[in-house]
Symmetry: C2
Subunit: 378 residues, 2 copies
Amino acid sequence: MLRSAIHDASVVTVEFDTGTQARFHAIWLRDNALDPDTRAPGNGQRLITIGDIPADVSVSTADVINGDLSVTFQPEGKTATFPADWLADHVYDCDRAQDTGRIAPGITTWERGIGAPSGDWTEVHAKPAAKRDWLAAVAEFGFAKLTGGPTEPESLLKVADLFGYVRETNYGPYFEVRTEVNPTNLAYTGLGLQAHTDNPYRDPVPTLQILYCLENSAEGGDSIVVDGFRAAEKLRDQNPEGFALLTGYPARFEYKGSDGVWLRSRRPMIELSPDGELVGIRFNNRSSAPFVDVPFDQMEAYYAAYRQLGEIIDDPAMGVSFKLEPGESFIVDNTRVLHARLGYSGAGSRWLQGCYADKDGLLSTLAAMEMAQPEAAE
Amino acid sequence: MLRSAIHDASVVTVEFDTGTQARFHAIWLRDNALDPDTRAPGNGQRLITIGDIPADVSVSTADVINGDLSVTFQPEGKTATFPADWLADHVYDCDRAQDTGRIAPGITTWERGIGAPSGDWTEVHAKPAAKRDWLAAVAEFGFAKLTGGPTEPESLLKVADLFGYVRETNYGPYFEVRTEVNPTNLAYTGLGLQAHTDNPYRDPVPTLQILYCLENSAEGGDSIVVDGFRAAEKLRDQNPEGFALLTGYPARFEYKGSDGVWLRSRRPMIELSPDGELVGIRFNNRSSAPFVDVPFDQMEAYYAAYRQLGEIIDDPAMGVSFKLEPGESFIVDNTRVLHARLGYSGAGSRWLQGCYADKDGLLSTLAAMEMAQPEAAE
């Protein structure tokens, strides 16, 4: 509910019933009008372009009617209504968090202490609330396990079907993670792998990865996940100048292990939005190419920051470990959470299948479920 | 070939036979050593992590041997050879282009005057050089036509097969672009569409789009492509402060047209790498959500810059137009080139199929072909 609205030609100032005030510009209100000539009924898409709005748009009246805002725009002579709740949800006249490297709302960073968030295969398939909670864990923590699944090959594709779509790559719709004789990738050996994000040499990177266990009787081979956002926060707090270097210059990544494949990217190890929010981590010793975009006189400090980030990531206090059982899998947000594995050897077998997918589908499915069933009822 | 090398503990300075000098740091050289204990033979992946390199790494000898650089590192006592050509390809001790909004090497921006680059279906399938040239056009210009193809449905999937993989989304592996009765998206009407990039509400956006014509006897419906990078350059030159606003604050995009789908993103209209290279454009009037990340006192200037960018994009001098015939298609780099269509109506029919794919596969296929057949023979 609105208490009042005052205006001049270019700005409307409203007071909500909470006592909060907020200003909205004439051009912003006109562009975001909700009437059926501006927004298509049904799909909600905007029917006008910015060029359709007169450059001299102004407000001639602004009134509170039934608690909502009614505005008349000139020279169109057009009147549009803005619900008070909608305005409250879209206030931009506010103080903003400005700290560089800040974490987006809804994301919780973590270290070893937390229990791995987990869903159950049967429940996630049968109960919308269970599925919603499992997806919400991926959104908030950047990873979640799924337990109690089948041990048939390709079961991982059914995991992706729960929320979105597989991203096929040169590795196929999915790939086998087990020891090979002439591996095209070190992932297909028994070597331990430092915590890393996958495919930083790909642009865009796959934003989700699913690793699904079919056999795991070998010694070792434990999975470890590390929150790259927490690692970035630590680096920022310990060494702000080093953080600025890793965010300020692109690294380079490359993969040329298979015939007909030569993937290269030029992206920073720690990526910020233009207004300083942490949006992505790329960290992979195996596929880092020579860094050539860092000025000579910054290169040693850049490397020192890279080393420090590596030390933070390698710190056992950072990682959550588990050994997947057959029928268990986990999803990681590959723009945030690094995964590692311990080396494994001889006796027994270890067979995982992996695939990539994207966050757009997962977050869309989650948002639609949260809209449909906003309460955590079951 | 190298003429000479001198060193101190932390830096090696080489002189190439061209007379050019370049410095390389001890840590950089050690990290990028090419020996089989550092890089896996075969797949070329790095076997060591940054933490495996002693923090006090230093150079004890640096010699030119057979024209290449041989360096011994302490405290490891390890000697590695760096070919002169490899060093020349990876010089980072150099002046860099620093202008904000600069275009990456290999990209050529354009306006209406250029002829649409085009490949022929049969040639592209039969002749590697023809395929390479067609892919190279997409890399350089951000779009290319493909003519002379079949008129069977799903032929567009064969276009994607030429270089990579379809990105499936909520619209399916591909989608029908023709008039529908209850459209979930304005694309499925006869309305004209302002030049736009697709799916800016998706993160990551699909980086390639293929639009394939099966029928086009309707009046109108011409396709128009606009180079978003050229538009961004123009805005930067005409209004640097406005350019800084569109690159400096995220916009918001949203799509909620179908059941179970609610896609949202927070990304800038003009995206720069952290060191100022132009890397992406998102522009779409239909799916722009209210912008709430721009400070109140910058909003009017932000909107003025948005309007100006829209005027540049709408300028007929910017667009390359063509009317697709059945069996013709085009690819756009959806991070750069906008596409529009004129409205069409009643008589005749217009049926296109569209799908998304990603640039990683296309650029990888192109790079591997260019390595295999470096000369433009044929």
